[in-house]
């Protein structure tokens, strides 16, 4: 297979013949050959392939040529579609390799015809927008082949109607569903079962793994090769799924479904309706114990409060009562039967979340305006993941543009229990010293200093003007973001877009369309953002992206590190911030012709010893501390690319 792969990539090979502009690159071939080795000997492989190495082709070609059954998992639904609809067909036709492929998304992406009928007939809330969306969906449901909600481009991504026309593991009736034969989710899963290469996303992969939500779990055992792209996201996603959640919203959903059953099939059962009503009201009272503004915190601590103990013991009692009442009505309605099972599951979860003395677990809670959720996160996923990886002989490949910290993979492999994996680091082919500059301006106040906001404004204005917008201005705190959103428009005559004013997708569209805009967002904004070319050539970050110390997952990992006798800052916080920054640089420079300036308005990068870890991990951008030098760099970029629009 090695020889075949080499031939495909080589001069005059299949890729060069079929793909316009394809040029063989050493790093790409090296990765492809390492993937071949892993497919052959079944050893796990971890590859960091810097932006521009062409990692997608480097794993697709061996995967397709291997003749084995392959699962390909990537970070988001968008990337999934890009792979499935763009890259995969290209390589397939180049290799002339007839391989059955399938795209599989999570449950909530498929239309549930049973729930659509149910809610179309009995609209749950009298809301004009909801009713309109429901009828649009009803119309579409007669035309769709796949039932993939993604086809509904004319409905908002966060439409209130979507939860009513898709199912969850909690409300799916499974084999008892009258529409079972027509189920789009099942059809998609069947297609995946019969395919040789299935494209999934990490959330689906781990959701299924953890919830045993039939289907994908059955798929995995028959697969020989598992490839994770965007693998740097896996530790966080996996931690979420290996944990448990109990929320007021799931409880209220259950109560609502029981109410529906009581209004239709079980009209003669007032006791059931009453008990569900009681549970709903206790659940709402529970949320009201905490302030309206959303917050996050340590559940172990909060649960010490008497009012929480009382509220939850009442809820638990009524859940027990409801369980008994439902038990007496089993077999009368599919909906009630499923509610009974859901309640059993919820009781079990609540029990786990009240057992806060258990060690090795992080217990935390968060609230939204109307709901409260309790979470249980295992401190380490390494054991669970290791079990999974080495359970059966199978090839595992983990790749991303950002996995290594300070030239090593320990941070990733330790978290994932992949100590025995083969690792490979491939540098980006970009000419970073000439394409990018890293500016850490002089004389800034310390990051916590109150004078910082004003200093940041004074720094940003001339840079943004020199670059004529084309800027992402990113913040680690919402407070600073809001302050800047108020101030900035008074100082520059360019459009200022602010995260939160509309959806991320719309904001990005506006940013690209306006060409000379400034987009203010939080640090996480640029994960997964792809703005090529000159539209984005300046990124300003207010602070090094250390996660907030009250972030529950971070707390959990720090606790874990402390228990293992390690320094949590060095092994948890620092590597995570390094990966985040590396991601960011990858967004700024996407292509050999991209140029840009990254400004980090945080002198700790220069003055603290850990600055070394950042510098050694980031691509070798030219460095300066002089805003004037950055302005000259930016001016040169735009002069070179010949875009000299009128001065603002």
């Amino acid at each position: 297979m090695q020889a075949e792969v080499k031939a495909a990539f080589g001069p005059g090979g299949a890729l060069e013949k079929a793909i316009i502009g394809f040029r063989s690159r050493d790093a790409q071939l090296e990765m492809a050959s390492a993937v071949c080795d892993s497919i052959r000997d079944g050893k796990a492989l971890v590859v960091e392939a810097g932006t521009g190495t062409g990692k997608t082709y480097a794993y697709l070609v061996p995967a397709l040529l291997s003749g084995k059954k392959v699962i390909l998992s990537t970070g988001t639904k968008n990337l999934q579609e890009q792979l499935y609809l763009r890259d995969l067909p290209r390589i397939q036709s180049a290799l002339a390799q007839p391989v059955a492929t399938a795209l599989l998304k999570g449950r909530s992406n498929y239309l549930c015809t049973f729930r659509l009928t149910q809610h179309y007939q009995h609209v749950p809330v009298q809301d004009a927008a909801l009713i309109q969306d429901l009828s649009l969906i009803k119309k579409w449901s007669n035309e769709t082949q796949s039932g993939d909600i993604g086809e509904l481009t004319y409905i908002a991504e966060d439409s209130k109607a979507l939860p009513y026309v898709t199912s969850t593991t909690d409300n799916c009736l499974g084999k008892d569903c009258p529409d079972y034969e027509e189920c789009y989710l099942l059809k998609a899963r069947k297609k995946a079962m019969n395919a040789d290469l299935v494209v999934v996303n990490h959330h689906l992969f781990f959701a299924d793994m953890a919830l045993k939500d039939t289907g994908f779990g059955e798929l995995l055992p028959s697969m020989d090769v598992v490839i994770f792209d965007e693998a740097h996201q896996i530790p966080d996603i996996a931690s979420d799924y290996f944990g448990e959640t109990f929320s007021s919203s799931v409880l209220l959903d259950l109560c609502r479904d029981i109410e529906i059953a009581c209004k239709t099939e079980l009209r003669d059962h007032p006791q059931l309706a009453k008990t569900a009503e009681k549970l709903a009201s206790l659940t709402k009272d529970w949320r009201l114990l905490l302030p309206e503004d959303p917050q996050k915190g340590n559940w172990r601590d909060l649960f010490q409060k008497a009012e929480q103990k009382v509220a939850l013991s009442r809820i638990s009692d009524v859940m027990q009562m409801l369980y008994q009442v439902l038990k007496g009505s089993l077999g009368r309605s599919d909906l009630v039967d499923s509610c009974y099972e859901r309640l059993a599951l919820l009781r079990n979860r609540l029990e786990k979340l009240l057992d806060v003395d258990k060690t090795g677990i992080s217990f935390w809670f968060d609230t939204s305006k109307r709901h409260i959720s309790l979470h249980y996160t295992p401190l380490s996923i390494a054991d669970k993941f290791q079990e999974l990886v080495f359970d059966q002989p199978r090839c595992w490949v983990f790749t991303s543009a950002t996995l290594s910290v300070d030239g090593g993979f320990d941070h990733f492999t330790r978290q994932m229990g992949l100590g025995a994996a083969r690792t490979l680091q491939l540098d980006s082919p970009f000419d970073y010293p000439n394409q990018a500059m890293l500016l850490v301006p002089r004389y800034l106040p310390e990051p916590t200093d109150a004078k910082m906001a004003q200093a940041l404004l004074q720094l940003a204005v001339p840079l943004i003007e020199a670059n004529e917008g084309r800027c992402f201005f990113l913040f680690t705190s919402h407070r600073m973001l809001q302050w800047m959103a108020q101030q900035l428009p008074d100082y520059i005559r360019l459009p200022v877009l602010v995260q939160g004013s509309t959806s991320k997708r719309v904001l990005l569209e506006q940013f690209v369309q306006l060409k000379h805009a400034v987009l203010l967002g939080t640090g996480s904004f640029w994960e997964g953002v792809d703005v090529r070319g000159d539209t984005l050539s300046l990124v300003i970050i207010d602070k090094l992206p250390f996660a907030s110390p009250d972030e529950p997952l971070l707390q959990a990992r720090s606790e874990d590190a402390r228990l293992a006798g390690q320094d949590p800052f060095a092994v948890v916080q620092l590597p995570q911030a390094v990966i985040t920054l590396k991601q960011g640089v990858g967004r700024l420079i996407r292509d050999v012709s991209d140029r840009g300036v990254l400004v980090i308005a945080d002198n700790r990068l220069v003055s603290r010893p850990y600055g070394e870890v950042f510098l050694k991990s980031l691509p070798p951008m030219r460095r300066s501390r002089s805003p004037q030098a950055a302005i000259e760099f930016l001016t040169a970029i735009h002069a070179k690319s010949g875009s000299e629009p009128s001065k603002a």
Binding site: Y443, P445, E612
Partner: protein, 143 residues
């Protein structure tokens, strides 16, 4: 107090004034030997030039540093200034033409002797000054 005069072989090194380049190398070594360093410059402009060179220095030999007017309360391991030191440090790298009054607060002092003849007068003056203070300066050539 130990005083070392480095005799520069040329006045330019790696495209910059040789004493800036050498200051960087020494700072990198001293930081790794856990010594806190004060780099004293004749003016703000030179201080910023040293800062820039140090920031662009090999990432493998990173030197955490700050200029006067920025950085953590106690200062970074290396501080670059055109004013007197704010905290006590072991090593002074003197880039000015005179021996500063605060020189006696350091246990180790590093001076440079320019290669060009016209620059040597100031160095000779400083050499004398240290002798008057009762210190016998060492001379050495940079590696």
């Amino acid at each position: 107090m130990q005083v070392q005069f480095y005799l520069l072989q040329q006045d330019e090194l790696a495209g910059m004034p040789a004493h800036f380049a050498l200051t960087c190398q020494l700072c990198a070594d001293l930081f790794r030997a856990n010594q806190r360093v004060f780099v004293y410059c004749p003016n703000q402009q030179d201080a910023e030039a040293v800062d820039e060179v140090l920031w662009q220095f090999d990432a493998e030999r990173f030197v955490p540093h700050n200029l006067a007017g920025e950085g953590p309360a106690r200062g970074a391991p290396v501080e670059i200034s055109w004013q007197g030191p704010r905290t006590s440090r072991q090593v002074l790298i003197n880039l000015t033409d005179t021996v500063p009054a605060f020189a006696n607060r350091f246990s180790q002092i590093i001076e440079f002797v320019p290669a060009a003849e016209h620059g040597k007068a100031a160095a000779r003056q400083k050499f004398k000054h240290y002798r008057q203070l009762g210190v016998e300066p060492q001379t050495r050539t940079p590696e």
